[in-house]
């Protein structure tokens, strides 16, 4: 897929977003200029966003395809997406585990996963780095700053 096609698709998505946003604003009650309601500014924003997106879509459709245009498969190649996807997956897993497992185990798991899985460090380096990261962050956020975060798993806390 050419990049120009992707860009046009994205502008179309913006237009759809703007339409939905305007519809939401109308649902909130736009009011009148003399008595602007909660939907007044969102409605104006939706019109603005939709108008600009339409303009950019029009421009993109009229643009001549360049002979050496960027290819979207290069931009979003699976090989390039793998590491970012794994990183996001690790953070998502961290968010799932944090409330039940507590800060210390889940943070250690996250750090070990990132140091070993993505950064490809040796096991010894990954474990030591993960432990140091957990201790440092625990000290900064929980001890020094007093953040309220469950440190241990629920079943270990009486």
């Amino acid at each position: 897929m050419k990049q120009g096609t992707l860009q046009s698709g994205v502008y179309l998505l913006w237009i759809i977003f703007a339409i939905i946003f305007c519809a939401g604003a109308i649902g909130l009650k736009v009011g009148t200029p003399a008595h602007p309601g909660p939907g007044f500014m969102p409605f104006l924003v939706g019109i603005f966003l939709g108008g600009i997106s339409l303009l950019t879509l029009f421009r993109a459709l009229r643009a001549r395809p360049k002979t050496a245009s960027g290819n979207v498969t290069e931009l979003f190649a699976l090989g390039k997406l793998r590491k970012p996807a794994v990183m996001c997956g690790a953070v998502f897993g961290y968010a799932l585990l944090l409330p039940s497992l507590g800060y210390l185990p889940s943070t250690f798991a996250l750090m070990l996963g990132l140091f070993k899985g993505l950064a490809a460090q040796r096991w010894s380096v990954a474990i030591i780095a993960a432990l140091l990261a957990v201790i440092l962050s625990y000290y900064i956020f929980v001890v020094w700053l007093g953040c309220q975060v469950p440190s241990l798993p629920n079943f270990m806390v009486t």
Partner: protein, 503 residues
Amino acid sequence: MDFLAQAFSGFSIAFEPINLVYCFIGAILGTLIGVLPGIGPTATIALLLPITFRLSPVEATIMISGIYYGAMYGGSTTSILVNIPGEAASVITCIDGYEMAKKGRAGPALGIAAFGSFIGGTVSVIGVMLLAAPLAAVAVKFGSPEYFSIMCLGLTLIIYLAQKDLLKSLIMAGFGLAMGSVGIDLVTGEPRFGLGIIELNEGVGLVPLLMGLFGISEVALNLEKEIQREFVTTKIKNLLPSLKDWMDSKMAIIRGSVIGFFLGILPGGGAVIASFVAYALEKKFSKHPDKFGTGVIEGVAAPETANNAASSGSFIPLFALGIPANVVMALLLSCLMVHGMQPGPTLIKMHPDLFWGTVASMYIGNVMCLVFNLPMIGIWVQLLRVSYKILFPLIVLFCSIGVYSTNNTVFDIYVMLFFGVFGYIFRKLEYEFAPLILAFILGPMMETALRQSLILSKGSFLIFFKRPIAAVPLVITLAILLLAAIPMMKKARRKMAEAAEED
């Protein structure tokens, strides 16, 4: 005399041991992140915002200020030694700085960058002391129409000065305004666009949004590639510039200070623009413009002086008007609001300790940066060798726990992830996020000002043009948009003509 008394009081606050500590932490941290490519002052301040919420307002402001101007000092080190800008405002320094380093003149380049930064920063701080309070006194007369107009101008300037596509920046601004609408309506108390999620009734969190856009998406992009760094391996010597270096740089430093200060005040201006303009102007005034790009010391002195001057100058609109001039000031604004401070022209009067303490600490911080930067060059060079494979897990962790600690809810981590993916995709599609951030923060303020103005005028939009202080920024805004639209229309017409000819 009152001015002197207040300045003296500011120094007494700045010299309190705890404030000195936070000034030092901010300055060193700022220099460190300025040195390290891949993370800039905006992302760092965003990462540290949850921490600053737990400090006093003065401590938080001093630390954030220190990070901002410290980053300007640190950015020159990587630009000169590695030809990779440590942060955006040091991009232009790469051109002549690295060439000087290749010729064995890394020392004088680093030295003049540090001294120029100090002079520019100091001149700018004096300007802040002299201008902010009188401007605030004038701004007390501003009403909702004036504020709406000035905020429109600020947002438009950020969009216009965007490095990439103007229309895409407008889309980002629109999206930022839309995100700013999420949450409880301040006037009616009605929930808006919450999608039935309780956490969204308080709006989209600034911290998750920033961490996602600048932290997670930046890491995701950097993970795709191996960052190759070519170091200048010759020994760094003669950090103190020679008399000839000073004579060659003096006008660049003077001009850079003035340009940087005034561009810093301008909403939408800032350190990046200031560094580019100062370099271009210096080349124009130079007796040997053809030598720029080959390693002339003025090519380092001008941008480095200007970016520091701009970073300090940008505090004026924030303290005097309550309007952030750039994204970093917008973050500081949100920090002040979390601490219950009402940004605006009365801020200086109601919280003189905050203003004068911060300004005084900026003097002290500039001295700290100068004193520590040059002797610590060796340490910064070693830090540059730290692999990104060690850094990125720590960045991810700080993002995640920082976001969680704001409201003690994992929902914010999911929001951060959403914006991380959003940021990753749209960076690849060459969108800029500065308009999004500024619109997100200014949006609620603009909406309040707009609604109040319209209620005042019984629905007439002419109120913005009938009041002179409101009319001027709005007319400038429209002129800027027209100025941007005309070349685009000409280009489109030319393309249509070409297409018709070929058909």
